[in-house]
Symmetry: D2
């Protein structure tokens, strides 16, 4: 059965939980439209995260879909990312203590890759289900963007992955995290898992994205 | 059996749902610590809301607790209010088209009343349960503050309500509302209801509030 | 010549400058409508700040106007405060290391005092001059609110101050502060001083505030 | 004398002023390090803005520097943009009523271009002067990004512009705009002009950007 590879991060920045991994593992083995979700926890470490992704990509047939998940503390919505950029610029050290500044993710790679997920259709479907979602135009410059760019670079350059689509989605904090950080928005795990089901189903079903304004003035 | 009076608002500002009422009615008849929750929907109308509150207060023995709920679109947490102020200053018209500016809620009332709920203990208990909460130092100047002030004025001035404690709590938008308002934080109904259970239980149990910093620099 | 007493705070929270004092001292000796500005630096210390205020109030005839200034880091506008509340609740220690929690400013004082400045007319005049301003409904619970409440309590209870009007105004950070705190809004000193001139002139001229909506939904 | 081409936008979204143009024209003819600022007002119209840019690029020798300015309502700082992306996605119509959705800026262009301004050195220099500044990782998807991408595409593909560096900088609203939009951060024109002087001087002087963390977690 075709596989969907769904990645989440280990905790970082002194936290003990990361919703991106909690959401992913809640969906491990979930089947939809003839595909099965396979999950992968990646370390919050530049380089090592992509090495781990490579192992999972190589271990089996090409996935139909690869979706990376990451925590965006401070965002209130499920935010499919539009674009991955070729830069590592770490505001804080990663889990291995590395803090690259303005280094490329891939030395010979282009400046950026667009997501090949139908991000507009996904946002449309989520909102229609009463779930808060918006397109994001920046995945930052930390390990989330690093994994996103690294993934899209592999999908664009490896012949065996030519038929695989992929992208990255930031998710909000969990209530238990927000309970420690006054003012931070959150979404409960069940709501996030429900949103990811809608997202994956839409990503499988829609190959030509819809034309619906989802831009930002700046 | 002693009653807890729990009020919520009808929808306002062109919306079709108001989480404050959804949360209240989900708890109608709920029993805790020997008290039963009785719910009341109040109109989002200056004056009429308090008339409706008066009816409910008069219809039966004095409640042990009266808790008003209101929607705070844009807040991400359950926020027990610290203080009600004696002013109506409406930025938008209420549901009857009234828009008072700098009018007192009660002509002869004091400038403000403090909540008599244990707001610090409530925030502490909610956070301990992994639920996002903070003390708020302003309930605004619209119908929420109007009901809050009107309630506290009644509790302070009517002899038969001398033993009744009360206060007001703002709640976030629901996911379905946030899905229509990009960027708005939300909490699902079940999470809000769960929080209100913790809140009411704590309010009944704690008569002397705890001393835990919960202030704001400005 | 009648005096306007204008207070500003010393720096706090490990900073080396406080715009509230910079603005005040830039206006020392400024004359408008037959009154002269006299400035006073107050320590960012519960209790000691009011002792210093008392000295200045006692040293000479009753001022026609007393305006307290304080920094509101994170606010983008000049914000005249509507109400002072009778509580000290310090999120961080003051400059003497004190951190009161839920203590009254004045043991026998009422829950709150409204500003006796024409806050709506002030906001109207500032905006008309192209200066960003809004009414604020909370001055927080730190030393700013402490000074504001303490001031209004003195104006309300001391017969010799019966004719003195007063209030409190929060001001934004300075550009040099914002340059150290990415994302923080700011206003240059000259703009803040210009705004205070408009504010004091309006406060002297308008004795009956205008009725213009300036409220908050929550 | 070598020229620096500095562009600003005409007003948009029903406003009557645009700080990006006010700042630009205040610097028209300003000389620094042997170069002279030449200014250009571009329409807030997809396509037409780039046609106007082309005219200015063609009318004379290649500039040493081309810097586009645009308003970012809601931002509090001077924000040099890191990257221009190949997409037009308009949340609101432009000044000609056009509202492209997910159309490329340049049909055959790459996904993105990095700014060739020393954005880290610029932010460092601005902060050192007490001026609020941060790197931005998204210029949005409206006409600002359109001009930024179009500019970088021309610099990358036209041989005669091979020696020209360029980029885009978003600036905050002016106080008079913030006075009409409660809560919006702003910076006075003089402060913005002062910042642009520092920015242009730094851009001319620094050819190899400094390595200083300026990234975002998301």
């Amino acid at each position: 059965m075709p596989r969907i590879l769904l990645t989440g991060f280990e905790p970082f920045d002194r936290d003990t939980v990361n919703p991106s991994w909690e959401v992913a593992r809640a969906l491990d083995g979930w089947q939809t439209d003839g595909a099965t979700v396979q999950t992968l926890q990646v370390p919050c470490v530049f380089g090592a995260a992509l090495a781990r992704l490579d192992q999972a990509l190589d271990a089996g047939p090409a996935p139909v879909l690869v979706v990376g998940l990451g925590l965006a503390g401070g965002r209130a919505e499920i935010t499919p990312e539009r674009i991955a950029i070729n830069v590592d610029d770490a505001r804080i050290p990663d889990n291995a203590g590395r803090q690259p500044v303005d280094a490329p993710v891939a030395a010979e790679g282009p400046a950026a890759y667009f997501s090949t997920l139908p991000i507009k259709a996904i946002v449309h479907a989520l909102r229609a289900q009463g779930l808060p979602a918006s397109v994001s135009n920046t995945a930052g410059t930390f390990v989330c963007n690093h994994v996103f760019y690294g993934l899209m670079h592999r999908l664009a350059t490896r012949p065996e992955l030519a038929g695989t689509r992929g992208g990255f989605v930031h998710v909000p904090a969990l209530p238990a995290q927000a309970a420690r950080l006054p003012g931070m928005p959150c979404l409960p795990l069940e709501t996030q898992v429900q949103a990811l089901r809608v997202l994956l189903r839409t990503a499988l079903a829609v190959r030509q994205d819809i034309a619906e304004a989802g831009g930002a003035l700046h």
